[in-house]
């Protein structure tokens, strides 16, 4: 089975850079919080959502050196840029700083994390782009953080899928206003930024359940953002669902549209079928792709018809996560060359306004 698809020139929209150790952030953290961390014995914010020993958390070959997979910029550059010949890689750092309850501490950690990303990653290679990590605990502080970084190598705002309140609710809107003003999309990625159970019906027992339910949490967040009117209030906003599984979307749109016909009076600002709102504002990264093993042309054709547009899909490797099967590649193989170019790079180049030549210069 020779893979005919080369990702040369692709934009990899989901790469996970990791913090090697908490102290790596100390140079960027106010002294009061450095000492707070030291005195209270805080050891770090490595996400329990990706257990270090679980096969999904790190593909073979990604465990290099002392730090966690993805913590060495040189190794990541080799694995996601130089190796596959990618044009850009968008870094989504999952260090779970927004899961702490203290809003000031969470915001300070997020600020330090972004400073660290700029200094250690964006400066390391002009092909790296990063997402601004913010905590939803204090949306105004999050909005300030978005404004602080807009246009400086950061191309997106990153929110964890598991939040204390649904992401559509108005308390979060300062974040969307800042993102819209900075012309940055907001990405939602599986991960924990709250103390809520990881399933809609309580705490699961196993990690495999936690991860399975991440697709459900993203569905809840998307439902919330549409119903609460985030896109009516922020018509320029784009939302990227990362590592979501993707193929559930048509079923959600059908159910949502059907309910909208009956219940739209509750949310009269949703003045079009939800599927239309979703197609105008939402993109999804293709790894993992919840698809049958022998995904063929008929399947892809049916999937894309139900989804609505190939322009909603973004190529992603999800480094260093290790998914089963080759569905994302099989999907690419079934696309026409023009469609494939859109998924591999065109959609992302436009969404993130990436220049043809790698560099930080902002497109106008």
């Amino acid at each position: 089975m020779g893979t005919t698809i080369r990702a040369t020139g692709a934009v990899d929209c989901d790469v996970h850079n990791a913090v090697p150790r908490l102290s790596a952030l100390f140079p960027y953290l106010p002294a009061s919080w450095v000492d707070y961390c030291r005195e209270t014995g805080v050891e770090g914010f490595d996400p329990a959502f990706y257990p270090p020993g679980a096969p999904l958390s790190a593909r073979p070959g990604s465990r290099v050196g002392e730090g966690p997979p993805g913590s060495d910029p040189c190794v990541v550059r080799d694995h996601v840029l130089d190796g596959p010949g990618a044009r850009y890689a968008v870094l989504n750092c999952l260090y779970a700083v927004s899961a702490v309850h203290n809003p000031d501490w969470a915001a300070s950690m997020a600020r330090a994390l972004n400073d660290w990303q700029a200094a250690q990653w964006l400066a390391a290679d002009p092909r790296f782009r990063a997402s601004i990590v913010v905590s939803t605990r204090d949306p105004h502080a999050a909005a300030e953080e978005v404004a602080r970084w807009a246009g400086r190598g950061f191309v997106q705002v990153l929110l964890p899928a598991s939040t204390p309140a649904p992401l559509g609710q108005r308390v979060h809107w300062p974040i969307y206003a800042a993102a819209e003003a900075a012309d940055l999309p907001v990405a939602v990625h599986p991960g924990v930024g709250s103390a809520n159970p990881l399933s809609p019906v309580g705490w699961p027992s196993h990690y495999v359940e936690d991860y399975a339910c991440a697709a459900l949490t993203l569905q809840s967040q998307l439902t919330s953002m549409v119903a609460e009117g985030v896109f009516a209030a922020h018509p320029g906003l784009r939302v990227v669902l990362l590592e979501s599984g993707v193929t559930w979307l048509p079923s959600l749109m059908w159910r949502f549209d059907k309910n909208w016909k009956a219940l739209r009076r509750e949310v009269p600002w949703v003045d079009r079928p939800p599927s239309q709102v979703i197609r105008e504002h939402v993109l999804l990264s293709t790894t993992p792709l919840d698809a049958p093993p022998g995904l063929d042309h008929a399947w892809v054709d049916r999937f894309l018809t139900r989804l609505g547009s190939v322009e909603m899909l973004l190529h992603a490797g999800d480094y260093p996560h290790w998914h089963h099967g080759n569905a994302p590649t099989a999907l690419l193989e079934q696309l026409s060359p023009a469609e494939r170019e859109l998924v591999l790079s065109g959609n992302a180049m436009r969404l993130y306004r990436l220049p043809e030549e790698a560099g930080w210069a902002q497109a106008d």
Binding site: T163, N196, P200, V201, S251, F256, L263, R302
Partner: protein, 355 residues
């Protein structure tokens, strides 16, 4: 319909008020009813945190002229449903708030009363009717005792749970329910219901009923995930689970997801004997209402086949507002053999109905 008989897998018979259950309660619980009565997770005695699309979530034409609530009058139900369509059997799922009681013993007493009331007022008055056993499922030992007691009546064909539980249903605490259901030879039905200890999302309470209702599909999926990965079907090989009113278009994507995750992370759950999709196909059945409505109506038949011709069972949800009319719900031509399985045969097999 043109295909003969119909098994309607989801019909709601209603208790019109607490007083209707009084004859089925002991003096102690009658007094409790007067003293404090229902204590659920709702902040109101009568209102709703998420008002439904219509009063009592019901069709406006389903209020019996004799008074009482929609679904409370068998004669009226006959006229609107049982005689109006070729209904061979209808499975009653009474949603009276017995399982949602926070006081375990009162919940158990109400559940027993509801079941006795169902026998007397419904099962023994129309031979087309079957019913689900109401149980206080958050207290599984009490639920198991009620299953043992009520399942003696042949009219009960299912044990009724709701999807919005205090913990995922695969967890060990709920296993006594499955043990009792297997002992009684009954499937366990999980039916959409309203008040609940937790929100319908993993991210807190949404603001609107449209989110709550749309979100029911994810609650059902989470229960499927839990049941499968906690090994419930390996431990209880005879157990069958029916998902009622949770949608079905999500099945293929979830099945692919779970199989891929099992391939990568299966070492964590070594007791699972099969890939997750196997359990979905062999142990789980799903009712059709609210019927999925793909944007292109013709996409429905391929979807039905993807989900599985043996998995789906037709339901109307009478008398609720999102009722599916057996003649109109599909909106597209469904091949006769597939239609017959969905309208009739699958339910006969699941509920062991002679036909």
């Amino acid at each position: 319909m043109g295909t003969g008989g119909l098994i309607d897998c989801d019909v709601h018979n209603a208790v019109s008020g607490d007083e209707e259950l009084r004859p089925y309660l002991s003096q102690r619980w009658r007094r409790h009813m007067e003293l404090v009565g229902s204590r659920t997770f709702s902040p109101f005695t009568k209102g709703y945190a998420y008002p439904k699309a219509a009063r009592l979530a019901s069709r406006r034409d389903a209020w019996p002229p004799t008074g009482g609530l929609p679904g409370s009058d068998l004669d009226f139900m006959r006229g609107q449903l049982l005689d109006a369509y070729p209904v061979e059997r209808a499975v009653l799922n009474c949603l009276f708030r017995a399982p949602e009681q926070r006081y375990d013993a009162y919940g158990a007493a109400l559940a027993a009363a509801v079941n006795d009331w169902q026998v007397e007022q419904w099962l023994e008055r129309d031979e087309r009717l079957r019913a689900s056993v109401t149980v206080p499922f958050e207290f599984p030992d009490l639920a198991a005792a009620e299953i043992d007691r009520s399942s003696a009546h042949p009219g009960f064909v299912q044990v009724l749970l709701y999807p919005r539980t205090a913990a995922p249903l695969g967890r060990r605490q709920y296993w006594p329910i499955y043990e009792a259901a297997c002992r009684a030879g009954l499937p366990v039905g999980i039916h959409a219901a309203s008040t609940t200890p937790g929100p319908i999302t993993a991210t807190g309470w949404p603001s609107y009923y449209i989110e709550d209702h749309t979100g029911l599909a994810v609650a059902f999926q989470a229960q499927v995930v839990s049941l499968i990965f906690n090994g419930v079907f390996d431990r209880f090989p005879g157990l069958r689970v029916v998902l009622l009113e949770g949608g079905f278009a999500w099945v293929p994507a979830l099945a692919h997801r779970l199989d891929a995750l099992h391939a990568r992370l299966g070492e964590e759950v070594p007791d699972l004997r099969y890939p997750p999709s196997h359990y979905l196909r062999t142990h789980i059945r799903i009712t059709t209402q609210p019927m999925e409505e793909p944007e292109r109506a013709a996409d429905l038949v391929p979807l039905l086949r993807e989900v599985g011709a043996d998995l789906l069972m037709f339901s109307t949800d009478y008398p609720h507002w999102d009722f599916d009319d057996p003649y109109r719900a599909f909106r597209t031509r469904v091949p006769p053999d597939l239609r017959r399985r969905i309208m009739h045969d699958n339910a006969c097999a699941t509920y062991r109905l002679a036909s």
